[in-house]
Amino acid sequence: MQQVVQEVRSGRTTVREIPDPVAGAGQVVVASAASLVSAGTERYVVELARKSLIGKARERPDHVRRVLQKIKQEGLLMTAQQVQAKLDEPMPRGTPR
């Protein structure tokens, strides 16, 4: 199936072919007919994603504090790896927040 995916690092949104999901306990698998992109909300998210790392940091000071804490505990290298990985993680688009 196809899914709209955003890369956190670049903010780029793409449509990717990915494996169909499986229903976990208490879940329902639904074949989509239509979905809605709410322009205002999504514009904000996309803009955040497109900001530089420093811009992102300014926008989310709570995340920055967590990163600093992690550096103290797990060392700079480990934390950097984790942050990089987090930034590489794809974000699904469309789930209302």
Partner: protein, 1284 residues
């Protein structure tokens, strides 16, 4: 649609899922689309619900004036909903283009930007009642605008995303209420609601995310929410990316609908990321389940460094992650289905790094599919899951693939260093501080169903490290967590866990979630063998030894890479599991839950049918406990396994001791066997060997613990839950709690084998006075033990060599001394001794000894009263029984007294006696009959004629295991057989003479004292006889018969005294010498003449042992010293005879006179209480004077005198001669058969019987044991089938 009832395939639903062709959403984020509502309209459900939640929070009521800032999708819908609510609505937006649409959605007035005056005009002088902010802008203006136009106590609800510098003044002055609305409504962001599908009760929470969705769908269906007017663009999913481009380019997009093609029927859960190819040979195909932090940051990079691995499939719950990470890490395919990995023929091994609750299920599926599994810790969350995994492993047997848990710290270089440093040190002490820091109670690691909590989920690392560092699996655990306090969400993540390991090591895990995150987290301390080591943060290793410190750095290496390497190596090599798994019986190593709960063992099958058990359970009280125990322990070879056939044979050789059933317990290199009489156990809870803590302790026990009741309350108070009422259980619990230190407080007769799995230590214990026996054969690596020697003889490898010194001691003292038996390689535990066996070797020590000989003081009458009281309570305690108790009855003081006390305790013991009427020895019968008559007891008598002596002697010696004491075994055997026909338990007066000084020979230590007593005694007796008529009985003077000198008056005794004087004139003044010569009747020269190897006999060696033992005794008084000697030697021989003669007939013989409490009492009585007024055993005679008839009290001591001598000289003389001088005796090499023949020709020799009897017994024993006649004639096991 797992576990979901409310939706069915084919239903049209609106969801809060992502933009994807197929979505998987929680049941609570799903709402049915009413008829007449199109998919496109329904696509607005989520945004409309967000608007509705904002409107609800604004609590706008009919007639109120409300401002909506921001007229995007949500703003427009909010306007329509507020209108439906009966409000007057003012809408504003920075974009004038939106205003017209707002009017269509019902706005009463609209304005561009922040039209403060227009809003004030609209609302009136007080301002608007509520403001709903549905804008998305970093600007602070919407908040400031809202604050400016709101009325006093107005409500401001933020639905969108705006700058949030709240201007204090207006909020303060107007006391404004400000709320940030959370998405769809209550339930959103709550994992319980979203993921687990737990709904909030309708009555309590009327509006939830789902119910808001239903409400807006209903509004759409009613035509009151014209959402379709909001659609500005339509794209197919292939071109969806363009929407985002338009949006970011600032194009006027409002509602953009993404349309999806009809989904194909077949699910595409596997996505090939590369052109499929067959893997190259030699490559290890590896698949992975889960792509979380651990998988991506630790597992994948570490495995990427291992060459020869090819990545096959990556499975995650959300396909997006599988696809993304799969591409990055060069996987062959991505999937959402674990089964896809299992179906992949090129996948050899699967790494599992999912949420903890999925581990067990995936592990089992992988193993069944034949894939090796590496599962991130924990292996599973529940014992049920563990059992399932263990069952799978067991079921698959040899076909079971590798299973390893990611307990990586055991592979850390620091662990290896410290293990190396402590090599050879056992046990060790390990302390692990794991300060992991706070995790909120709602987070998944704290969720017991998902993460398992932090102990199972994380502290397992520390527990496994302790296992690795002690080199031993945990067998016992204690834990305490902090108490609950206000503000604390979780208490079980601040704990101390204490573990006891198999090898005796202990460890402590301090898991701390209550500290500061910045502090160091992990520190391990190890101690033992004079060495100390610390591991800090897996970075620094400090090791001290001989006051020198060595420090090493290991670069924060927690062993992850090494752990993966070990697994991959094992996969390649097909070798053993890197961490021993459940199949090795050490489940504790793989699962922390297992470590926190005592390992379980399958209950042993019970042999008795249930209805029989039920019947017996009703009976309570003290029943016979006689049993037979046996065992094998390869203490030096942990890997050795017990030969079950051998143990079964050994145990069955004891069948007569417990004819009804048997039980076995095996634990690797240990096996315990037990034979019991069914009546022994009144409930199945008394089955033996008895286990505690599922085998942490095991006990195979033979005996009777008289004072066990006194321990039960204390044990119960300390938390022991008794399963039954047996003394076995009391003893086992006592041992488990206090170890061997409890032994010296036990009053009873027993021999037992106690197994402690924690230290793999076997402890063998014999009772204080040695009433019960325990024989051992120890070859330096393995010990075999049993209640009787004949059981050991069923082991082919127990050598049958005569112990020459045991023979020497028997010839002098009538019994081998202390630990010796007639077999060189078989020893018997000493009385009051315990022996310990474990991998570290063996040790023995005395736990009980008579050390206090200080006379109590007090008047004779006070002493007598104290004994009387003590005696009564002891007899009462030992005789309380619900089974018929019999009494051995000689008609003498001791047995009559016991029978009399039994009557006082409310019993009427059936009495059993033996006599030799008409055979030239003192006829006991009149005494027995008159004593029984006086007490009013029934007496069964048997007359012995000695006709069957040639048949009886081998049988009795086989029963007895070796020659010991005298011919008393013949009458004892007869009376035991007689009694066994009517009762299961018999009491008797045995040991009274040794304990209370009944033998005249003790007088040899105080000849002058006794002589003067004798001189005065007749006068006293005359006075007493005269006074007795007038005085009450208990006031009668202490003139109670038992004239010592009468015993010496016999011809033989006089001869012996004269003989000794002749031989040892020089030693006559020495009481030790006098006693020794009296005891060792037959002179050395006579024995050396009768034996082929004269050097076997040495009076000097025996004398040395005798003197040495006397010197070691804490007693001061010579009489106490020799009585102490007798208690340690002669008495133990007597008990052996007593045990074997009764047990041969499945009869339990109890000996109240040898109760340790009475014995301690007796040894503090002093000579003056034992010999008084010319009477031996004076204190006992006086104490029992008021319970037994006078004619019994004053009769002469006889004991079990037998006419054996007459039988041997008369009817069986030929048999005796054949035995001692025939071919077998000649070829034995032990005897000077010519000299024996000459002795037989000299019937008047005063020591004829003493010498001939012993020679006859030794030769008969040699035939039975050394020549194996006994195996052929009496082996009980040969007729029974021995299972493999």
């Amino acid at each position: 649609m797992r576990g979901v009832q409310e939706f069915k395939p084919g239903d049209r639903v609106a969801t809060a899922g992502p933009h994807a062709g197929i979505v998987s959403v929680g049941r609570n984020l799903c709402a049915r689309i009413p008829d007449g509502v199109s998919f496109e309209q329904a696509a607005y459900t989520s945004v409309a619900s967000i608007a509705l939640e904002g409107v609800r929070l604004a609590r706008a009521t009919l007639g109120e004036r409300v401002l909506v800032i921001g007229l995007g999708l949500i703003g427009q819908i909010a306007v329509a909903l507020l209108k439906a609510q009966g409000c007057r609505v003012f809408g504003t937006d920075v974009d004038p283009a939106k205003l017209e649409l707002a009017k269509q959605f019902g706005a009463d007035e609209v304005g561009v930007g922040s039209p403060r005056d227009a809003v004030r005009n609209f609302a009136g002088p007080h301002g608007v009642d509520a403001v709903v902010i549905t804008a998305a802008t970093p600007s602070n203006e919407p908040i400031e605008f809202a604050a400016d136009v709101a009325r006093v106590k107005g409500r401001v609800v933020l639905v969108g995303v705006v700058g949030l510098n709240l201007p204090r003044a207006p909020f303060f002055l107007k006391e404004l209420e400000f709320t940030v609305s959370s998405s769809l409504g209550p339930g959103r962001m709550d994992p319980q609601y979203e993921d687990k599908g737990v709904d909030y009760p309708f009555g309590q929470v009327r509006w939830t995310a789902q119910r808001n969705m239903e409400a807006v769908l209903d509004m759409i269906a009613m035509g009151r929410l014209p959402v379709e007017k909001l659609t500005s663009h339509r794209f197919s999913i292939d071109r969806a990316a363009e929407v985002y481009d338009l949006i970011t380019q600032g194009a006027p997009v409002l509602g953009a609908i993404i349309e999806y093609p009809a989904a194909p029927a077949a699910r595409a859960r596997r996505l090939d990321l590369k052109v499929p190819r067959r893997s190259r040979s030699g490559e290890l195909g590896v698949s992975l389940v889960g792509a979380g932090n651990y998988a991506r940051l630790i597992m994948m990079p570490a495995l990427a460094k291992v060459s020869g691995i090819s990545w096959r499939g990556l499975a995650t719950a959300r396909g997006m992650n599988a696809e993304h990470s799969g591409r990055r890490m060069d996987f062959a395919f991505a999937t959402t289905e674990v089964d896809e990995l299992l179906r992949d023929p090129d996948t050899h091994s699967v790494f599992v790094a999912t949420r903890h609750d999925l581990h067990a299920d995936i592990v089992v599926r992988c193993l069944r599919a034949g894939k090796n599994v590496f599962v991130e810790k924990p292996l599973c969350l529940t014992l049920a899951e563990l059992a399932r995994i263990e069952e799978t492993v067991r079921e698959l047997g040899d076909r079971c693939p590798l299973l390893m848990v990611g307990l990586n710290r055991r592979f850390a270089p620091a662990t290896a260093m410290v293990r190396d440093f402590f090599r050879g040190v056992t046990p060790r002490t390990v302390s692990f501080r794991f300060a992991s820091g706070y995790i909120p109670g709602g987070a998944w690691p704290q969720d017991e169903d998902i993460g398992g909590g932090r102990i199972v989920g994380e502290a397992c690392h520390a527990i496994d490290t302790c296992v690795a560092l002690t080199g031993s699996a945990p067998v016992r655990v204690y834990a305490e967590s902090i108490g609950m306090a206000k503000g604390l969400e979780t208490t079980d993540d601040q704990v101390f866990i204490t573990l006891r390991h198999e090898n005796g090591s202990i460890s402590n895990v301090s898991y701390q979630a209550g500290g500061d995150r910045a502090a160091p987290t992990e520190r391990v301390e190890v101690f033992g063998g004079g060495r100390t080591a610390f591991i800090d943060e897996w970075d620094t290793v400090s090791m001290w030894r001989s006051e020198r410190l060595t420090e090493k750095r290991t670069g924060k290496d927690r062993g992850n890479a090494a752990g993966f390497g070990a697994f991959i190596d094992a996969c390649r090599g097909g070798g053993a599991w890197p961490i021993p798994g459940p199949s090795s019986g050490h489940g504790a190593r793989v699962d922390p839950r297992r470590a926190l709960a005592a390992p379980r063992r399958a209950p042993r099958p019970r042999r008795r049918p249930p209805e029989r058990r039920r019947r017996r359970r009703r009976r309570v009280g003290r029943a016979p406990r006689m049993c037979g125990i046996a065992g094998i322990f390869h203490y030096a070879d942990p890997a050795a396994r017990v030969d079950r056939r051998a143990l079964t044979r050994m145990t069955r050789a004891l069948a007569h001791r417990g004819p009804d059933s048997e039980g076995f317990f095996y634990d690797g290199n240990l096996g315990l066997g037990h034979r019991r009489l069914s009546i022994v156990d009144l409930s199945p809870s008394g089955a033996q060997p008895m286990l505690l803590g599922d085998g942490a302790h095991a006990l195979s026990y033979n005996g009777e613990l008289y004072n066990h009741g006194s321990f039960r309350e204390g044990l119960k108070a300390r938390g022991h839950e008794f399963r039954g009422t047996s003394d076995t259980e009391t003893l086992l619990r006592l041992l488990s709690e206090r170890g061997a230190s409890c032994l010296d407080q036990l009053a009873g007769i027993f021999a037992f084998a106690w197994w402690e799995r924690a230290t793999r230590t076997l402890t063998l214990v014999r009772d204080p006075l040695g009433v019960k026996q325990l024989y051992v054969h120890d070859d330096g690596r393995r010990v075999v033990f049993a209640s009787e020697v004949k059981a050991l003889l069923t082991c082919a490898d127990v050598p049958r060599e005569l112990d020459g010194e045991a023979l020497n001691q028997y010839l002098h003292f009538h019994t081998p001394l202390f630990e010796r038996t007639f077999l060189r390689d078989v020893k018997v535990l000493r009385a009051g001794e315990l022996a310990r066996y474990n991998a570290g070797g063996t040790s023995r020590r005395a736990y009980w000894a008579i050390t206090d000989f200080t006379p109590r003081g007090g008047s004779p009458d006070e002493n007598v009263a104290a004994l009387s009281e003590q005696l009564e309570s002891v007899v009462r305690e030992q005789l309380m029984s619900d089974v018929p108790v019999g009494s051995f009855f000689s008609g003498g003081i001791d047995s009559t007294a016991i029978a009399a006390y039994a009557m006082r305790a409310g019993l009427r013991p059936q009495c059993f006696g033996v006599h030799f009427t008409g055979q030239g020895v003192i006829d006991e019968r009149p005494y027995q009959e008159s004593a029984a008559k006086a007490l009013g007891l029934d007496l069964d008598l048997i007359t012995l004629t000695g006709e069957s002596l040639p048949e009886d002697l081998p049988r009795l010696l086989w029963s007895q295991d070796q020659p010991v004491i005298g011919a008393a075994m013949i009458p004892m055997d007869a009376v035991a057989r007689l009694a066994s026909q009517k009762v299961k338990v018999c009491v008797g007066g045995q040991a009274a003479d040794e304990v209370f000084g009944g033998y005249a020979r003790y007088a040899l230590t105080h000849p002058l004292d006794v002589a003067s007593q004798w001189a005065r005694a007749p006068l006293r007796r005359a006075l007493a006889r005269r006074g007795r008529a007038a005085a009450p009985r208990d006031e009668a003077p202490a003139a109670v018969g038992g004239n010592v000198w009468k015993q010496f008056a016999e011809r033989k005794t006089l001869w012996r005294l004269a003989h000794n004087v002749r031989q040892n004139l020089s030693g006559l003044g020495d009481w030790q010498e006098r006693y020794f010569h009296h005891f060792a009747k037959v002179p050395e020269s006579m024995w050396t003449g009768l034996l082929a190897a004269p050097e076997l006999v040495s009076r000097a060696r025996c004398r040395a042992v005798f003197r040495e033992t006397l010197a070691k005794s804490a007693a001061v008084d010579p009489a106490d010293k020799v009585m102490h000697w007798d208690a340690q030697t002669y008495l133990t021989g007597l008990f052996q005879q007593d045990d074997r003669m009764s047990m041969a007939h499945s009869l339990e013989s109890r000996v109240p006179m040898a109760d340790p409490r009475l014995v301690r009492f007796a040894f503090r009585s002093g000579f003056s209480m034992k010999f008084r007024d010319g009477a031996s055993k004076w204190i006992l005679r006086r104490a029992v004077a008021d319970v037994i008839p006078e004619r019994v009290l004053n009769r002469r001591k006889v004991g079990f005198d037998t006419p054996a001598e007459r039988w041997m000289r008369g009817p069986h003389a030929g048999w005796v001669r054949d035995t001692l001088t025939g071919g077998r005796a000649r070829s034995r090499g032990l005897w000077n058969t010519a000299a024996l023949g000459r002795l037989l020709d000299e019937p008047d020799h005063p020591l004829w019987f003493d010498a001939v009897w012993k020679a006859l017994c030794v030769e008969t024993w040699a035939r039975l044991v050394l020549d194996r006649d006994g195996d052929r004639a009496f082996d009980a096991t040969s007729s029974e089938e021995v299972p493999a």
